[in-house]
């Protein structure tokens, strides 16, 4: 196998045994990127020189940290000191932060080598990466199809073996849905598990940073590095953080798994339901107890999400006003005109639509009917989950209603596009950890299975995912975008 195809833990072994140098690994990765990137277009920014410099430095160094010499990528919404962070938006097209996000500095301190910044839907608003202000990213399994979104660049780059792992963000499904579409592992940790400091906010009460990888062990290794309290983020909880690799045990006997009736209803493609049901049989075979449950308020999650998230976004995106950084209209005659023309030219249509939705929902006279009601619905959704978790360790469902769709297929139809998140949004609304893992194929396109855990119980997700992975071989299947 070529170096670029190896997982993070396989690369660690190579480095430790001096079978490969970091420089060789980084070179292999960039050579792979050169081969496939014109087709995939996962990266907004690449830094070959910087990555090689760093790799060479690590190669002459004696001590090893957990990531020493290993390449990775960051979704372009995560601030990286000295490297452009655009949020795939024209308004931040040339913005270079002078600070690192906490997750970026943790990976840096662990010795990781940042390869570049990954494409996404503008400001993480979208489910296809077609909303990037720069270019769409393609699904490595079928270049006519989208990789999902908003973290589509991260998912596609990991699936196409351009990098062994990447970070993304998930507000309503933006890690799990693209992971599902691209056939990789995608973890959205519990809200408060990972610091949001330095991650450009979309919807602050829902956003969470997470991991894309090609297997479960890598996911656990990266979570070990990025999780844990951060004094710079008041919503990042000070709660004991286990060593997640301890959960990599192929034993789930007696694990109680629930599958919610509402997540297998109409609107979910039959092939996907069948594939996930088959996976549930596998779990039973492995000794788990599997039962059907109900999450009765599920249908209200999506409408409530589309009030809460845009409302928060309308405030979060207000700072892009042209005064201190980013794009500015210098032709404007006065400051009000400068604000509006800067924002009119700087934001794409989807972003503008959500800002308007959110502004409306918060307006005087509408607040109670929309925003406040959505908060109440959120509580009910959380209660549904709490109740199920009184009796079960884990909830399993499909990640998405369909497999990857074609580019252009859903543009101009926001409601259909929003439905992509129908199975992932409730998990953000409840603040729970969720993971998508490959569980089969329909028409040669990957299908993702969603595992949902109790708050701060990422360990059980890893344990259940690992057991499934060890007893199936879906994760070994790889697309071949290079031959197309």
């Amino acid at each position: 196998m070529d170096l670029y195809e190896l997982t993070l833990h396989e690369l660690q072994e190579k480095l430790h045994n001096k079978q490969a140098s970091s420089e060789e690994i980084v070179k292999a990765v960039f050579s792979r990127i050169k081969d496939v990137e014109t087709k995939i277009q996962a990266f907004i920014t690449l830094d070959e020189e910087g990555a090689l410099d760093k790799a060479r430095k690590y190669d002459v160094q004696d001590h090893f940290s957990s990531l020493t010499g290993i390449p990775y990528g960051l979704k372009d919404i995560i601030c990286s000191q000295g490297m452009k962070t655009t949020c795939a938006s024209k308004i931040l097209e040339n913005f270079v932060p002078f600070y690192d996000a906490t997750v970026a500095s943790r990976l840096k301190e662990a010795g990781g080598v940042l390869v570049g910044k990954l494409n996404m839907d503008e400001f993480a608003m979208g489910s296809s990466t077609e909303q990037s202000a720069f270019f769409p990213t393609r699904n490595p399994w079928d270049l006519d199809r989208v990789p999902g979104g908003s973290s589509g660049g991260s998912a596609a780059a990991v699936a196409a073996c351009e990098i062994p792992f990447a970070l993304g963000t998930d507000t309503g499904g933006s890690i799990r849905q693209p992971a599902s579409f691209c056939g990789v592992v995608g973890l959205k940790p519990t809200y408060g598990r990972v610091s949001r400091y330095g991650v450009v906010a979309y919807a602050s009460s829902l956003d969470q940073v997470g991991v894309f990888s090609r297997d479960i062990r890598d996911c656990a290794l990266v979570l070990n590095i990025i999780a844990g309290k951060d004094p710079l983020d008041s919503t990042c909880v000070d709660i004991e953080k286990p060593d997640y690799t301890e959960f990599l045990k192929d034993d789930i006997k007696g694990l109680k798994i629930a599958f919610p009736r509402e997540y297998f209803q109409e609107g979910i493609a039959q092939g996907i339901k069948d594939t996930v049901k088959k996976a549930l049989l596998k779990y039973e075979e492995l000794g788990a107890i599997v039962e059907e449950v109900s999450l009765p308020h599920s249908e209200y999650a999506l409408p409530a999400y589309y009030l809460v998230a845009p409302a928060e976004a309308s405030a979060n995106l207000a700072r892009f006003d042209g005064v201190r950084y980013g794009r500015r209209d210098f032709e404007a005659e006065n400051v009000i005109q400068m604000f509006s023309s800067t924002r009119a030219a700087g934001f794409g249509d989807e972003v503008k639509m959500r800002i308007m939705l959110g502004t409306y929902a918060l307006s005087s006279g509408y607040y109670d009917a929309y925003y406040l009601k959505a908060l109440k619905v959120r509580r009910l959704i959380k209660n549904d989950f709490d109740k199920v978790f009184e009796d079960f360790d884990l909830i399993v469902s499909p990640t998405t209603p369909t497999t990857a769709f074609k580019l252009g297929e859903q543009t101009g139809d926001p409601l259909t596009l929003y439905m992509n998140d129908i199975l992932t949004v409730p998990i953000n609304m409840a603040g729970l950890p969720g993971m998508s893992i490959p569980c089969g194929f329909v028409d040669a396109l990957p299908v993702g299975m969603q595992l949902i855990g109790k708050p701060f119980d990422e360990g059980t997700l890893i344990r259940a995912a690992y057991a499934f992975e060890q007893n199936t071989d879906y994760h070994t299947a790889k697309p071949d975008p290079g031959v197309m």
């Binding site: 995560i78 962070t85 932060p97 983020d233 919503t235 405030a315 207000a318 005064v323 918060l362 925003y371």
Partner: protein
Amino acid sequence: MSKDFETVIGLEVHVELKTRSKIFCSCTNEFGAKPNTNVCPICSGFPGMLPVLNEQVVDYAIKAGLALNCEIAEYCKFDRKNYFYPDLPKAYQISQYDLPICKQGYLDIEANGENKRIGITRAHLEEDAGKLVHQGTISSSTFSLVDLNRSGVPLLEIVSEPDLRSSQEARAYMEKLRSLLLFAGVSDCKMEEGSLRCDANVSVRPYGQEEMGTRAEIKNLNSFKAVEKAIDYEVRRQIEALEDGEEIIQETRTWEEERQITRSMRSKEEAHDYRYFPEPDLPPLRISREWVERILQSLPEMPEKARERLMEEYGLSEYDANLLTLTPDYLAFFDECSLYYKDGKIISNWMMGELTKLLNQKNMDIAECRIKPAALAEMLKLIDEGRISGKMAKDVFETMFETGAGPEKIIKEKGMEQISDEGTLGMIIQEVIDKNPGVVDDYRNGKKKATGFLVGQVMQATKGQANPALVNKILAEKLTS
């Protein structure tokens, strides 16, 4: 002013809390630094930045709340107040909307010789915005510069009930509020530096009417005097309008200091919709009763307590005690001086008299005064010992004020010491008697007032340095012998 209308005033006061660092980041909180030197990505609203609440700000807010007799919330939260302005880096201000940290307090004022209790509706925490700087005036400048040093400075907004009935009461409220906050040690309360700011809600209604009149909010009140004058103007304007059959419209007006008028800024229809919603980046704030208790214990003596103490321990009049407890610096001066000198009344007289007079002349604060409390005590003892007269003391005091030197030194240098030696005085007095036999005869013939002339002669001979009590005593002895 018309007798048919009653004035109703409520005040919204913003106080900058003088914590070491800003409310949501670790930037230094100081006034007057070079533009944009106390800034960081957080208080400049850079992408991805998050607020972290400074606990000292909460301590100070609790302190202020307790000083204003407020209830301290066990549970409160922060909210976002959304509006675009170049000095507001996030385009929202983190504030508290429906659950403020302090509520339902009061303070007592004295106006027109009457005591009155004024309700405080609430006091909430928020961050200050930056400042726009213009070359020349705002209208002639072709650009604006943004200084974010003030962005993120902690503010406590204190909202009164509409309990005030005149501009004098409003001023008394402001002075009392300032005094309480100074005593609590939470703010400098300097209106001229903007660490104490006031907006006034003013309305009028016919006497006897329960319903409130339509109010105008007056902004840009930068001194106690402006508060008083602007309210007087506004009340007059509203009454005249009503008497002319006009309707008052709800609006925001600004006080124009140069023209001494209020001018309309924006009407209710043009008011912002701030679209408040809970700040998702900050968890709700829970304040344990232990926390409140700890702050209560750390709270210094408040002016009311101090006033009672001064009246009880030193027998001071209520008037004097009030003045001495106007600011903590005055009280501290008095208290320190009384460590060295027992008669509080005399200290008070000097502080209220000469000291205040000189401070006012030089427009100085007592904290900048060069006379130390111990030096005043020393001077008062010199009077008691008869080494200087009260009249001489005033000169000595002025020199102390100007130079900061001790009284002993000044007396020596100026040769001002009082003559209290009986032998010396006896000789001088004898000379005066010898020179004025006619006057002495007058005295002996029952014209008692004649002594006044003789004392004057003695004083002249001693350049005013003779101890007057001794002069009187010796003169009496010599004249009757």
